[in-house]
Amino acid sequence: MSHATGLQYLKKGVLPHMWCSGCGVGVMLGALVRSFEELGYERKDTVVVTGIGCTGKTDDYLVTNALHTTHGRALAYATGIKAFNPKLHVVVLMGDGDSVTIGGNHFLHAARRNMDLTAIIINNFNFGMTGGQFSGTTPADAITQTSIYGNAERQLDISALAELAGANYVARGTPYHVWELKTNIKEALSKKGFSVVEIYSPCPTHFGKNNKMKEATAMLQWLKESGLPVEKYNSLEKSARKGFFAVGKLVDREEPDFNTRYEEIRRRAMNLKV
């Protein structure tokens, strides 16, 4: 079987792309367009909504519908699109700054509402676009441009937050585990309700450079060594999990999404109406 390339979703003449070598964003884009192809998505039925940041630049490479929004608010824009036209495939691409730092409120409520959106998050543990300052997912003690003595704050776990807030589907991937990543993106796209794919991702230019992983391969190496398949990770004693993280599908449930619930309530209202 020939593999999907997803080239038909990419804009001609814009490559090479803007991302630094070793960056995870391009790998995500590749997995995304291949997923589109394998799922048979039509360009016209697909809307890619992006935030602001290195991840947020992705729409420039796509020939689907797109809305490039404001920093942190992509999910709220996507909510309006999906609520009004539930037939559209609405995919939201954000960084960790976008999704859970400035945009944390929207993330919580998109998950709670169970909007039928797919949020794909490049978590590179810092603000890439603005030069590598700490974000809500920067590990404690990590060095960034605004925490040169070490980060005083604690790290937010995006996947755990998504689960708690009510997402129907949550997976974590990395650019190293690229085939699994595509599988998870396809599952997320196919899932009705709010789905999240969190991608632990290298930013060699800033986070890597500041944290002894300057070479493009160093962060990949770290992702390879620390990312364990979910089953393996879960089989470890809690104390043995330190320094590792789970890769793969973390949450899969079937709660009704916002539009389904709204239609139920609409029917109730119509019946009440005399």
Partner: protein
Amino acid sequence: MELGRKVKLMQGNQAIVEGAFYAGARFYAGYPITPSSEIAEESAKRMPLLGGIYMQMEDEIASMAAIIGASLAGAKSFTATSGPGFSLMQENLGLAVMGEVPCVVINVQRSGPSTGLATKPAQSDVMQIRWGRHGDQSVIALCPASVSECFTLTVTAFNFAEKFRVPVILASDEVVGHMRENITIPSPGELAVAERKKPTGEPAAYKPFIADEDGVAPLASYGSDYVFHVSSSMHGPDGYSNNNPANAAWRVAQLHKKIEMHREEIIITKTFDTEDADILFIAFGATTRASRAAALELRKQGIRAGVLQLMTIWPFADKKIASLGERAKTVVVPEMNYSGQVAGEVQRILGAGADIRKVNSYNGEIITPQDILKAIL
């Protein structure tokens, strides 16, 4: 009574919702705030029955974002808020300007600064409405002075939004929002309802930012055969990022020009006894009524007074004010703010030498005809 026409006693806020539905609005997203909450409540009650969607978002930032998203999916969409919420909407309102996305934002003005007198009226957002966002941009803003104008100007707001691909701000105030009057709801078809221009050519050739002769580009909806990009970043005719300075200059100018081109249509005013007026009141929103009462009182005393009501506050009615102001000996501008936000504009037009009397209220109390008369006599 004509078929379909209804006479109803209602509140200004309710009339706004009626106007929105008359205009075809089918998507509302908002976050409740006094004194605009009745708009949310009425929308929540009626939207499901009309086949539309009511969404209560997590804040006003999200509300503004959601109505833009829905509009690009093809909806006539709106939100309603007041002071603090309007402040939160500014950044995304700027995206609606930049991306040329039709939508309507209702700002039922209340007394500030900050949380201020949350239940009291004001007209202190005039300049925020005009200049509240970063980046130089033009907007359209309308001001109703009665319950029936709440209805008609809401329809107009949607029409302007659709025709010119812009966000339109309907700036009422607590007094107008909560007053109750009988209004006649026109039958369908009685008032013109505009729809956005859709693209018609070859889908592959569609460029969402190439304007027709009227200065406005057709707008497709997500999901149609016309695939398109909209961006908050500077973009070319195709909606993709574009950093070329010549392109940026063309885009920025176009956003201003399309409003400039249609000034005559957009600027709506009403005049009462202004032909021979020596004393000219320039009023908008709630202060219109007090001004008219004051003018009538002066006429009784043999003083020729008239009222110019600004139903459109942005763009500003420069020409109309220049022509009426030239004749008048004294111009009086009553407004519920400290600085004289509209008076300043009037001064700009009539010049430093003009006799302009400001009448201001900034304690949450309305301006009465007596307050106005005191300023003149």
